[in-house]
């Protein structure tokens, strides 16, 4: 059975006063299989974040529905972990306590919590920073903590909304490798929203390209590079060819966005 089914999900934001309603998403249908790593690539304002928020249950679709393991999604829950573009660690909790947040909500036994937290701290390379507060961490470390915090809940699907968008280029590349490494070892189902083409291809096994607003799925591309992937594939010819094609597709949409503005 498919993990996540998006059935005709559309979103129209109601107008206020004289302003007409805005259609952010045209009804979209996507099927996500178990262990998929899907990148959703689109120009800014195309509704890709809205789609992710609907899947997370943070926003309601105007039409259609989202099914996770066959059950409709109506509200946020621990079965869908999310990492946001903005830094959303709880500033009053240390790295350790941030990662523990969902586990405490589930009221797991203390020893089990410690074990899980220690595992993810090691996996995202934060050993030695357990007792730091978010303010003391770099952006990359904060996002690593946020990924660990989402993974610690053992969600059925991991939703990432441009998590590396605010990071510098080098940190960003390292974070991609880290996330890809985690996926290669744990095979979590992942939906990754981004506007960075290289990033979208490097980690995913499928790339969905979205159109300019109102967003819809423009194309779907399988990415067949073997795992484990090494960062050097980014400079290989097949990678470059794929990137060139997606660049063209996105460019058409970006031009539409520019024309709307």
């Amino acid at each position: 059975m498919s993990k996540l089914i998006i059935e005709g999900v559309g979103r129209i934001f109601p107008g206020r006063g004289d302003r007409a309603p805005t259609e952010a998403l045209q009804p979209i249908a996507v099927t996500v299989e178990d262990n998929d790593f899907i990148s959703i690539l689109g120009p800014s304002g195309c509704g890709k974040s809205t789609l992710l928020r609907i899947i997370a249950g943070l926003d309601n679709p105007s039409s259609g529905r989202v099914l996770l393991d066959g059950l409709p999604v109506s509200r946020p829950g621990a079965d869908r972990g999310m990492v946001f573009q903005s830094y959303t660690l709880f500033p009053w909790l240390t790295v350790r306590e941030n990662i523990r947040f969902g586990l405490r909500e589930k009221a797991l036994p203390q020893a089990r919590q410690d074990e899980i937290v220690a595992h993810y701290i090691a996996q995202v390379g934060l050993a030695g920073f357990e007792h730091h507060y978010p303010k003391m961490l770099s952006g990359g470390m904060q996002q690593r903590t946020a990924i660990a915090r989402a993974l610690a809940n053992d969600p059925k699907i991991l939703l990432l909304d441009e998590p590396f968008g605010a990071l510098d280029h080098q940190t960003r590349s390292l974070m991609q490798e880290l996330l890809l490494g985690i996926w290669e070892s744990d095979r979590k189902t992942v939906l990754f929203v981004t506007h960075d083409i290289e990033e979208a291809i490097f980690m995913a096994n499928r790339v969905l390209v979205m159109t300019a607003r109102p967003g819809s799925i423009k194309s779907e591309t399988a990415v067949d590079f073997a795992h484990p992937r090494h960062y050097t594939i980014k400079t290989s010819t097949p990678f470059a060819r794929l990137k060139a094609r997606l660049t063209e597709e996105i460019r058409v949409e970006a031009l539409k966005v520019a024309a709307m503005a």
Binding site: A56, G77, A78, T88, W92, L93, R104, E105, A146
Partner: protein, 257 residues
């Protein structure tokens, strides 16, 4: 001077002390130089001597104790009721819709104007003093706490939801800890205002306290004692403010850079 450029600790203390010195010098010149009649303004030395007399002959320490207890008592009462109500209003919009209009209105009712009414209701005992402080602090605390809690970062709330937090989990584990430093800061501010109300309450219908001493001294034209009383209030306020700040910094180290 460059805008917003920090200043190192030693010059900062020196500058701060310098103003006090200038203030005293100006005061001394005005009084010792004979520019102001002694009846209206005592000189600094007389003020200190009168202060000494207050402690030694008039049991001023008891007045100070009474006033402090009134402030703290009324303030704690107001905080005990006001903080939870403010949190409930900030977290739950229907609760806010119910209370907010009335409290916004009540906030502008001057606490001191209630004194005659409160004397009628509660006499001139301690209850009346506590009520004045309570009325003066409560509405402020409620509104400021409600605004603080209501302004919690939405992205943190959403993150908590995606981590499986329940509605009560959001309140307990996000809204409360996230607002705690600002709530503590609100309490620090309101405690300062409570000091103003207590003195007003003691100026009218009281038989003890710093405010009462000041009214007595006015009848005797003893400006030295009045000024000493005012300075004592200032000092206690400063000390409680420092204590509050210190406590807040210790408790909420995470909110500092």
């Amino acid at each position: 001077m460059t805008p917003l450029k920090p200043i190192s600790p030693i010059p900062r203390v020196v500058l701060g002390v310098l103003f006090f010195l200038l203030f005293f010098i100006a005061w001394s010149v005005a009084t010792f130089g004979g520019f102001v009649p002694k009846t209206f303004l005592a000189d600094p030395l007389t003020m200190l001597r009168e202060g000494w007399n207050l402690f030694v002959f008039y049991g001023f320490i008891k007045d100070i104790g009474i006033t402090i207890w009134r402030v703290i008592g009324g303030f704690i009462l107001a905080a005990l009721v006001g903080v939870p109500l403010g949190i409930a209003m900030g977290a739950y919009k229907p609760v806010e819709a119910f209370f907010e209009p009335f409290i916004s209105f009540a906030r502008y009712l001057p606490a001191s104007a209630f004194i005659p009414l409160l004397i009628l209701w509660a006499g001139i005992g301690e209850t009346q003093k506590l009520l004045v402080i309570f009325i003066g602090s409560f509405f402020q605390i409620v509104l400021m706490v409600a605004v603080t809690v209501g302004a919690t970062r939405r992205d943190l709330v959403e993150a908590a939801y995606t981590l499986g937090a329940s509605a009560s989990g959001i309140v307990r584990r996000v809204l409360l800890p996230g607002s705690a430093p600002a709530i503590a800061e609100t309490l620090r501010l309101v405690l300062g205002w409570a000091w103003t109300y207590v003195i007003v309450a003691e100026l009218i219908g009281a038989s003890s306290g710093i405010g009462h001493m000041i009214t007595d001294s006015q009848a005797l034209l003893n400006t030295g004692q009045i000024i000493f009383g005012i300075i004592v209030i200032g000092f206690i306020g400063l000390i409680s403010d420092f204590a509050f700040k210190w406590g807040n910094q210790r408790m909420f180290a995470w909110s500092l850079a």
